[in-house]
Amino acid sequence: MADVKLLGTWPSPFSYRVILALKLKGIDYEYIEQDLSNKSPLLLQSNPVYKKIPVLIHGGNPISESMTILQYIDESWPETHPLLPADPYGRAVARFWIKFAEEKLSSASMIFRTSGEEQGKAVRETVEVMEILEEHAFGSLKEKGFFGGEKVNMVDLAYGVMGRWFDAIEECSGVKVIDPLKFPLFCGWAERFNEAPVIRDNLPGRKELVDFYKRRREMMLAAAAAASN
């Protein structure tokens, strides 16, 4: 089997989507941590359009954009742990929610990057997105289930970042966005996701994540303050 390399950065949730998919499928790979402040020739050559991680390189061929990578992984290693439903309609619905995640979850990252009114706006936008998800997406899951039924699939991976990462962002930003009383279906799913086989052994540690985002937040707020002086 041709070799598999993953260019990523710790603790990027986009990197982790790919790591978790590779682990679920039992695929061996070489992980190469990237320094985004000093981008490697390999990264620039592999993703010349966006120059971003994650990038999967399989047999020398690069693939970028985390959810495109996940579809590629699912199609290239179809025998173990399918990451999409078999029927076209189920797949169309899965792709819809994956696209929604890609478009709408960025407001959440603004929560730890900002303060005051800007942060308030990011929180409101995130809550609006959560309301849609709670009603239309998590509402369709059975009590013990995942988007993939009994097993985690690509949609679960797309949203999986929201559990452990959101938790860390909330702690270091001092804002509570995900109220378990308001979003019981999401919270139930997030707990199940964090405890799922393979997932539970491959998530970043909570303390490390909180420390990381605390430092990032301090840096970003300091830079913003310096820029406005």
């Binding site: 359009v49 693939i63 954009e65 495109t68 076209p88 169309a92 792709r95 819809f96 929604f100 239309h136």
Partner: protein, 236 residues
Amino acid sequence: MANNNNNGDVKLIGAWPSPFVMRPRIALNIKSVEYEFLQEQFGSKSDLLLKSNPVHKKIPVLLHNDKPICESNIIVEYIDEVWSAGPSILPSDAHDRAVARFWAAYVDEKWFPNVRGAAAASSEEAKNAAVDQLKEGMALLEGAYVEISKGKDFFGGEKIGFIDIAFGSMLAWLRALQVMLGGVKLLDEEKTPGLCKWAAKFSADPAVKDVLPETEKIIEFAKLLVAKIKAAAASS
């Protein structure tokens, strides 16, 4: 509704000027699937649309035996998978498929926002910035076309494929924009010769020619749309 050769009941909620709606129309034509085209009235949203796409409330929506499928590129993938006996739209190789999805997403996420930006710009500066971005995008797409087509007519090779549909559906608007911006060249014989040839072939394809509107019709429609966008911006 006629039996439609066991294709089931196929309806498409959309509107003729929308490039996103053109995508599933082209895909259905490629697969020779008959469908009922339910056109929305400009400026209002039908109950059927709101019920079928409650999350985004946007066109296109494909209704296949009353089950809704939303998001144009996702609808095209669905059409390709359901009507798998017809000519294939996505490539068969996994890496080629990833490349196809990458460029289709690029058109929507990076290139198209600048079309809106250029058309509805409130200042000369903003317009020029959007046009510069569009030209950069065209250069990237020219490079992608040369690499992916490997000397054949289309991104998909000898026949239209996923990237052709995703980007080709933009051609009527691209041509209209060139006129509306006073002759700005986005399709440029010198800078994007490959795309110029590709655009002519794509527009003439049997699956496309009755779907891509005439440039003049889009220009007329664009005036209405720009007025609506500006009014909305003024009142917010």
